[in-house]
Amino acid sequence: MTYGLFLSATDKKPMYLQIVEQITSKVLLGDWPAQMALPSIRELAADTQVSVITVKRAYADLEQAGVIVTHAGRGSFVSAQPDLQQQLQQQELAQLLSAAVAVARQLQLSDAELFARLQQHLVQPR
């Protein structure tokens, strides 16, 4: 049995973050539907060959982000929030926007210039 996580030690991101991101994408894409039971921490650790403590940390982060819920003694489940997908996409948009702002600051663009650039993208035909 394999859970289809693709982890790599040469990825710049730490292992726990790779697990967080890949489980989040599975939920976003609907591969892991709401209320689906997640593998236990030990099972996922053995399956992906990473330490138990790393998976534990990933699950804690996922729970904090609202992607999963954990019931003591019963395990973890994909969150049943009806607007979870939207929330995650909102978070993603917020991250991309702040990344764009950071690059703009490095380029020493003024706020007006950055607005203008964004405007250009908005009027571009799709």
């Binding site: 030690a9 730490p14 292992m15 726990y16 030990r42 099972e43 650790a45 053995a46 399956d47 060959q49 990473v50 330490s51 138990v52 403590i53 790393t54 940390r57």
Partner: protein
Amino acid sequence: MQQFAFEMRDISIRYPHFAMENISLSLPKGQVMGLVGVNGAGKSTTIRMLMGLVKPDAGQINVLGYQLPAQQVQAKYDIGFASDDMRLYKSQTLQWHMDFIRSVYPQFDQAYAKELLKRFELIGEQKIKGLSHGQRVKACLLLVLARRPKLLVLDEPTTGLDPVARDEVISELAEILRDDERSVLFSSHNTHDIEKLSDQIAFLDRGKLLALQDKETYLSSWSRFRCQLAANASSGNTSADAAMPVPGAVSIKRHGQLAEVITDQNSAGFAAQLALAGFQVLEQHRMSLEEIFVANVKRSR
């Protein structure tokens, strides 16, 4: 109450040219501990004490609830040990060894042993003297793993293995993670293997315990910054001594206007300290266990 797979308390042991003083080391049940250190750091001595093979001059050792070395006979039914200098009988076959181990340890799991034979691509009828180094290492591991010991102690389990064989061994070790009653202690120069599977990291150097922490906390407390020195802080020469001290920095290397700073107290507070000392952060990197290992050893010497 926290249950320990093993617990060493205030251990001291002295040899003519090597000593360990006041070492306390314990592993909670169900966890994996990686023991890291250069040659001669005290890894094998630590393992030998845990196996009851040497008696410390002072301190207490408890393994799986048994006092060592006094109760080592009982303890050893539940401990599996493999090291790279373990000897098998050259003129006997692997199957002969499997039968022999089974006669000593009734819990030897024959079905699992057969499965391991296949996965490690070993042949039971082959004599030990005909095996390659890698095959011999895998044979030793098979004999230990098939007993499903509560505590598995491995001294350099992947040394001298080719990448494919190493992957096979790591896969089998990962299987142990499924069982929360089983614990593993392994030592390795290969920090990559340890970084992957360990819950706890123990760093030994020259008989001293430099660090003992859970891996996630440990890895995230170290960080490397590539910095540019603010113009007013630059004193115009390239000497490393001229760099301003930053509290929490393990090392500061400076060349011209650029500098590399390593810390073991990574936090927002440290970044603020850097800025205060005139270092403008260009990039921040996380460090691999290997890089941390080298930085840690250099600092302590």
